[in-house]
Amino acid sequence: MNRPNIRFRQVGRPLTRTDAPGKVTGRTPYAGDYVMPGMLHMGVVRADIASARLVRLDVSKARALAGVACVLTAADLPERTASTDIPGQVGQKRLDTGQQILVRERVRYFGEPLALIAAETRDIADHAMELVEIELEPIPGVYDPLEAMKPGAPVVTAPDNIVAERRIRKGDVEAGFAAADLVVENTFRTPFQEHAFLEPEVGLAWVDENDVVNIRVSTQVIEHFRPIADAIGVPHNKVRIRGALVGGGFGGKEDLTVEVYLALLTKRTGRPVRLEYTREDSFVGHGKRHPFILTYRTGVTKEGKITALDVTMVADSGAYVFLSPYVLLYALVAAPGPYRVDNLNVFARAVATNNMFTSAFRGFGALQACAAYEQQMDEVAQAVGLDRLELRRRNFLKTGEPMSTGFVPPSAIWTDQCAERAWAALGEPAPAEGPRCVGRGIACYQQSYGRLTFLHDTSEAWVGVEMDGTVVVRSGVTDIGAGQVSALGQIAVEVLGVTLDNVVVYNSDSAVTPLAGTTTATRALYMTGNAVKQAAEGVRARLVDRAARAFGVEPDAVDLGDNLAFVVDDPEKSMPLVELVRTCGAEGIHRSELAMFRAPFTDFLDPETGQGQAHPDYAYGAHAVEVAVDVDTGEVEVLKSVAAHDVGQCINPAAVEGQIQGGAQNGQGYALSEEMLYEEGRLITPSFSEYLMPTAMDMPKVECIILESRSGVGPYGAKGIGEPAMTPVAPAIANAVADAIGVRVFEMPITPERVVRALKRRDEAARSGPVA
């Protein structure tokens, strides 16, 4: 083994990301920027009723329109489904939860695709869509998960609409409640959320000279080539996904989007086809964040020690299963948050309805749990008369202690430091003025990074050194905007002793870059960062070995840096990297390496008790905010927003800050303004003028406090920050609003209407009963 770097040369520096210059000049091609000669343009015809029987679908007029190349309905397709189960894994049995590709008989949600049209121009495709004659017979649907569990409810998923059920049974909850001085019970509701990436789903597909279906597509998961091949009935090696830099993902491009439609039509027509979702397509065409109803019953002593916790969760899975069982599992595991709770019951169910199907979204169930447990901690603190931070301090899970599943996270747990730092950074409070009340809130969290360990996750990467000393990295990883690719480059050049401008990373091609797995689950840096590091270290070992022979020293005396190989204790003894590489080339010493990193492989959690290992490791931190609430209008303004996270080790601090600041925005919208309104399953807010995410007028500057415990299981002790950045934001805001107005809004988003209703409730309570 050669000696590790004594100091970091590239890692930990806020370098300009390798993808930045292309993006600021408009040079970077996104999937929608590719065109081909003879290309057809597609449209998707959708159902406008959420629960219905398809009585008649007549596409003859559309087919007859001049310039229409192909119209497909379910009648033209064999009986196949598109997989909705965990994407990107190998060797795992898939759940039999596929979705019909086009509606054959039963419409289960608003916007479910009925027909696909390919035409010479987009105008003609649009015109042809209007010529499709559709007759739908409404069937009673169910739009509330609690209703859907009742006997006699319309059945969306047989037999009883319950698509997943999970439990934790730990310790003795009854004894825990008996030992409590107080029991606090509350129910919290969290809403649907739209990912709202700025780049709508888009792709271009063609059949090449080897009869391979190529799809250039905006996706988080190039491993979808397998389910696509299954859905269209070709061998796996006959579908190739060529990714592109992704214009935002957040989990919304984790499932299949346009790929199967493109593959079907390019196969059928033999011509290149392009499909770009409109914004409205995007709103109704991909799964949303699961709404949850969470009931928390906490037993606590006068001293503020939690003695028991009983949690019930119901998640709205919508009309298809997709990732609901896994989202539910994350919520289950996260139920008590970053607190030590030895007596714990959790009962979680995901329930089918005729709402839009729900699936992956940044935070993946653990975020919804946080929204509840952190509001509950404030309520408990108030009930026992303790400072909110003090109550948390008395219950924080500490390094080396077992979490909800009995698993002991391998890394450091620095929740306490993060909370103290974030709270202190709020500084002097803003003055209350007129109708504006000011309040503060904090929320802490535990969020996994890396996939569920029973999935047996792996990632591959290839690293090579060119004859002039420049570095090439090949990895299938998709870059969804967080700088995944640039970070991998930074790791490779750290190991090989060159600078970031000396590396090119080729990524996101399922045929020619080694498969790295998905860019989801805050796993890209952890998994592929480790794979790149491993591959680069393989190359480094051979280079260092050869240099050591040249210098007449042991390999562990040699280091690589500043494009040189040199003897650490005698830097006069050095040779340019390019010379060393040429020597290796001339002698046939292998200058590249393909590595596979494997996450811990475990069995599934015990189905009765929920005990065992669920994830490789967890991240911890806190978010604090100060808000002003206008008690006349109910409007909430976020005045200060401070995040403190232990990220283990920053690879690129600027990119880490970017994740944190974006998470703050994503969480703020979730807490306050982003609302998907449905009427009988029909989305009535399918645009950015109705679905309101925070703008430049709404966002405070977000302050980042980055702690580095170097204890994570990622490269150089890194943890992950993609999902954690968002997880605690919404409950921090909810707690601040409650602090400001003295009453809690139990349902997000905390819109002006809900604030005003809560204030009325507060004032009526004050009038009706003297509180002694």
Binding site: P14, T16, R17, D19, A20, P21, G22, K23, V24, T25, G26, R27, T28, P29, Y30, G32, D33, D123, H195, A196, F197, L198, E199, P200, L245, V246, G247, G248, G249, F250, E276, T278, R279, I480, G481, A482, G483, A654, A655, E657, G658, I660, Q661, G662, G663, A664, Q665, N666, S687, F688, S689, M693, T695, A696, M697, M699, K701, V702
Partner: protein, 162 residues
């Protein structure tokens, strides 16, 4: 189908012909003639991803009909600078980590340029108002605000001959 007409669009200082029907938006027209640096995010004027300068004004090209832009000076993000010679706004966004997924970036940089043209020393309020028509889902805007301030400072310094 409406009548088509060949028009000349002046984009980034070059005359570029294109044949478009009356209902073709400037966004679609620009992309059709190869200006894929102009991004489509909503086609309704809600998101600002398609912003370009038309005679110095930042406009949503999805709300502008191509025919009406004939004779105007159109500037896209690529017209400001290129990889070997970044414009100060592009440089500040690149160095400052203000582009993440980058899809909103061409529109935001155009909006930023318009802010600085109007307010060489913009206040935070000027920047916020100037960016209020541009949605970004990745950055939380913090680094965008910083990049606009930084770019303005660089451009002020440049105009002083330093």
């Amino acid at each position: 189908m409406s009548t088509e007409r060949t028009i000349m669009l002046r984009v980034n200082g070059r005359d570029e012909p294109g044949r478009f029907p009356a209902h073709r938006t400037l966004l679609e027209a620009l992309r059709q003639i190869g200006h894929t640096e102009v991004k489509s995010g909503c086609e309704k004027g809600d998101c600002g991803a398609c912003a370009v300068l038309v005679d110095g004004m930042a406009v949503d090209s999805c709300l502008t009909l191509a025919w009406t832009a004939e004779g105007a000076e159109i500037t896209t993000v690529s017209g400001l600078g290129d990889l070997d010679a970044l414009h100060p706004v592009q440089q500040a966004f690149s160095d400052g980590g203000a582009a993440q997924c980058g899809y909103c970036t061409p529109g935001i940089i155009i909006a930023a340029k318009a802010i600085i043209d109007r307010h060489p020393d913009p206040t935070e309020e000027d920047i916020r108002i100037g960016l209020s028509g541009n949605l970004c889902r990745c950055t939380g805007y913090t680094k965008v605000f910083e990049a606009v301030s930084e770019a303005a400072a660089i451009m002020r310094a440049g105009s002083d001959g330093r």
